[in-house]
């Protein structure tokens, strides 16, 4: 009886050792995955920062005003002046869409052949 207990205890220790090793390695794998994800996030963030900086640089007011001047003929952009404000009643109501044509319309002026009904 006692030796069975010893054997069982030994087996339990081995099983636990196996399990804890598994967990340990899983944790290590996860940690290294997290590290690589962090590195990826860091790299993406760096890229994002670079893109943001580039966006800000390309949209700097000096450049935009130069571009507006260069393309004045095409765009006609001027600095916003007080006369740019309008009132709501200066805007027309939206023109309703033309209703879909359900009944076919005769567009062909050719005579209808005899024996066929026309609409």
């Amino acid at each position: 009886m006692r030796s069975i207990l010893f054997v069982l205890a030994g087996l339990a220790v081995m099983a636990l050792a196996f399990w804890s090793y598994q967990e340990n390695y899983k944790t290590r794998d996860t940690l290294s995955e997290v590290r690589s994800l962090h590195a990826q996030i860091g790299a993406n963030h760096e890229r994002l920062g670079m893109l943001r900086a580039e966006w800000a640089y390309l949209n700097r007011p000096d450049r935009l005003s130069d571009l507006a001047e260069l393309n004045f003929e095409r765009l006609g952009l001027l600095p916003l002046m007080p006369d740019a404000f309008g009132r709501v009643d200066q805007i027309i109501y939206p023109i309703p869409d033309i209703l879909p044509i359900i009944v076919p319309i005769e567009v062909d002026s050719a005579p209808v052949p005899a024996g066929e009904d026309s609409l």
């Binding site: 940690l31 997290v34 590290r35 962090h38 590195a39 996030i41 860091g42 963030h45 760096e46 920062g49 670079m50 943001r52 900086a53 966006w55 800000a56 640089y57 949209n59 700097r60 007011p61 000096d62 005003s65 600095p79 916003l80 002046m81 007080p82 006369d83 740019a84 404000f85």
Partner: protein, 594 residues
């Protein structure tokens, strides 16, 4: 196991027959049994010793191997949990009130050399000098072929330069990662941002530290990882700042001025929407601080905050507002303006003779020095001082810039009755345009103190009350009349009800002894819209001269006012202010009831 008997009967009987002693058999058997027991226990003990020995050997072996492994490997901190957020940059961004970037970081590389690793140092030096024209090939050859093990070459490289260095192919040229501070908008808002430079430098990284302006003031905040990279949001609006700088620069060149400054401030929240000072600089390439001469000649000098000037007649509204608050006068009270007003050896004159008397409103509208001086005499020095202290004229502005404390106002050493009179019309007390903006905001927003700030905020400041709101409304109406029919008639902007006060003060000579006759500081302090005040705009020119007429005109009405009007025309729509056009009254409709 079969136990052998000590006295086996068969052998005992046999021994008795032969006449031998049967005890000898027993003794022999006892001996054998003892030997057997001894042998077995020896074997077991030996086995145990072996196991013990093996266990100890394994244990010490494991420790030894582990120690060897630890000693042979690079030190590494044991990691039980994942590290914190990896996305925090070294220094947070600075954005304007709408989130547009004013300052950000850029990854770049530094270049250094290990001359001992170089195959052909002379060639590397020559090629480096071709890539970087500011480097001298002979100096580099001296550095590379001498005894030095380490040489810094460049702090920052552009990607093209980096590729070019890479193409040299020398193993002794090494790149290190670097963060650099980038101001994508160039010179816009340069005085507010200040600039950044490198602190402690290493091969693997370098500290980016603020050297001036808000970068320096909020250095700790910007570098604090606890903020998790949250940007610093300023009250500045980039579009408006750019428009204001453009108009100011245009005005400065038309008016032939030496320098110019403008402050646009929300008079309820105290937020500075735009603050410009010309000449300016590019914070990406910050110029050196002047070592000799007048600091105010340097482009680094922030005229709006550091420049303390006698701001002239713009101060008159303070005396009149205080006098109304004290109940000494009302807008229609007639003030004696017969001149010149004599005080000891000193005479106070007006620009023109305005006759024997003017109403208090007209003292402001026509800008009478004599009238204001008489009002100030009734107020007295002590009450004037405490009123100006409440408005913030006794200490430097609390704005969040490193340079702010250097913009402390210059006060008279002895606040005599004469000082009271001259200060009432803006002479004898020097303050910055930002002081003036804060004081005008405090007077005109309904009468509560406003502290200027560069940080975005949502709510009005609701500071301590300085004057009653009806006095504030009367002051606004007076300022409106200055534009409608007074010295600032060029300040009219259709639809925006501009109110304001001009100020042209002669510049004091640097080495004392009176004032220049042909150098003025021209200031226009304005508020718009006057009926529902939202913003205060201060425009100041240093030594302007408008030369279109027969004689150069230097007064603010000819210089600062038209520029301020143009600025309001440009920025008011950007601020979302719709022009108030007088709507026609419906004709012929009478509301009746019975």
């Amino acid at each position: 196991m079969i136990r052998t008997p000590l006295r086996p009967l068969a052998r005992i009987l046999k021994a008795r027959e032969k006449g031998e002693n049967p005890d000898a058999i027993e003794a022999e058997n006892v001996r054998l049994r003892r030997e057997d027991v001894r042998d077995r226990s020896r074997l077991r003990a030996e086995g145990r010793l072996l196991v013990m020995g093996a266990a100890f050997a394994i244990a010490y072996g494991a420790i030894g191997v582990r120690m060897g492994a630890l000693a042979g490997s690079a030190p590494e901190e044991p990691q039980a949990a994942s590290i914190g957020s990896p996305i925090i940059g070294q220094r947070a961004d600075i954005t304007d009130r709408n989130g547009r970037i004013l300052a950000t970081n850029l990854e770049t590389h530094s270049l250094y050399a290990h001359p001992r690793d170089m195959v052909d140092p002379t060639r590397a030096a020559r090629e480096l000098a071709v890539i970087f024209p500011e480097l001298d090939a002979d100096d580099l050859i001296k550095d590379f072929t001498g005894s030095r093990k380490f040489v810094w070459i460049r702090r920052q490289l552009s990607p093209e330069q980096m590729q070019a260095v890479h193409d040299i192919g020398s193993p002794g040229l090494v790149f290190g990662p670097r963060e650099m501070r980038l101001y994508p908008n160039g010179a816009i808002a340069s005085h507010i941002l200040g600039g950044a430079s490198y602190g402690r430098e290493g091969v693997a990284s370098a500290e980016v530290i603020g050297v001036a302006g808000i970068e320096r003031k909020f250095d700790d905040y910007l570098r604090d990882p606890a903020n998790e990279g949250a940007p610093l949001e300023l009250s500045i609006d980039l579009t408006i700042q750019a428009a204001a700088e453009e108009v100011l620069a245009g005005g400065m060149s038309i008016m032939n001025a030496k320098g110019a400054a403008s402050v646009l401030m929300d008079l309820h929240t105290g937020e500075i929407i735009s603050m410009a000072s010309l000449p300016d600089f590019d914070p990406n390439d910050r110029p050196q601080v002047l070592l000799t001469g007048d600091q105010s000649d340097s482009p680094l000098f922030n005229r709006a905050v550091q420049g303390v000037y006698e701001l002239g007649s713009t101060f008159k509204i303070f005396a009149v507002a205080q006098s109304m608050e004290l109940g000494l006068i009302n807008p229609d009270t007639l003030i004696n303006t017969r001149g010149p007003l004599q005080w000891g050896k000193f005479r106070i004159r007006d620009f023109h003779d305005y006759g024997p008397q003017l109403s208090a409103t007209d003292v402001i509208v026509k800008s009478s020095n004599i009238g204001t001086a008489r009002i100030a005499m009734e107020i007295g020095a002590e009450r004037q001082q405490s009123f100006l202290r409440e408005l913030g004229f006794m200490e430097a502005t609390p704005v969040e810039l490193q340079e702010a404390p250097s913009g402390a106002p210059l006060l008279p050493r002895n606040w005599s009755e004469l000082s009271t009179m001259t200060i009432s019309y803006g002479h004898g007390l020097s303050s910055s345009p930002l002081h003036l903006a804060a004081a005008y905001s405090s007077i005109l927003n309904g009468g509560t103190r406003v502290y200027p700030t560069l940080l975005k905020r949502e709510t009005p400041q609701n500071g301590p009350r300085i004057i009653r709101s009806e006095i504030s409304a009367r002051s606004r109406s007076m300022l409106r009349q200055v534009v409608e029919r007074g010295t600032a008639s060029f300040g009219e902007v259709a639809g925006y009800e501009v109110g304001g006060k001009t100020g042209s003060a002669d510049k004091p000579k640097e080495n004392g002894g009176g004032y220049y006759k042909d150098k003025v500081i021209a200031t226009f302090a304005s508020v718009f819209p006057a009926n529902d005040p939202k913003y205060v705009l201060i425009v100041t020119f240093d030594e302007p001269s408008e030369n279109s007429g027969a004689r150069p005109r230097r007064t603010a009405g000819w210089t600062a006012v038209p520029v301020a009007a143009e600025m309001i025309r440009r920025v008011a729509p950007l601020l979302g202010l719709r022009p108030q056009v007088d709507t026609q009254e419906p004709i012929g409709v009478t509301l009746t009831s019975n």
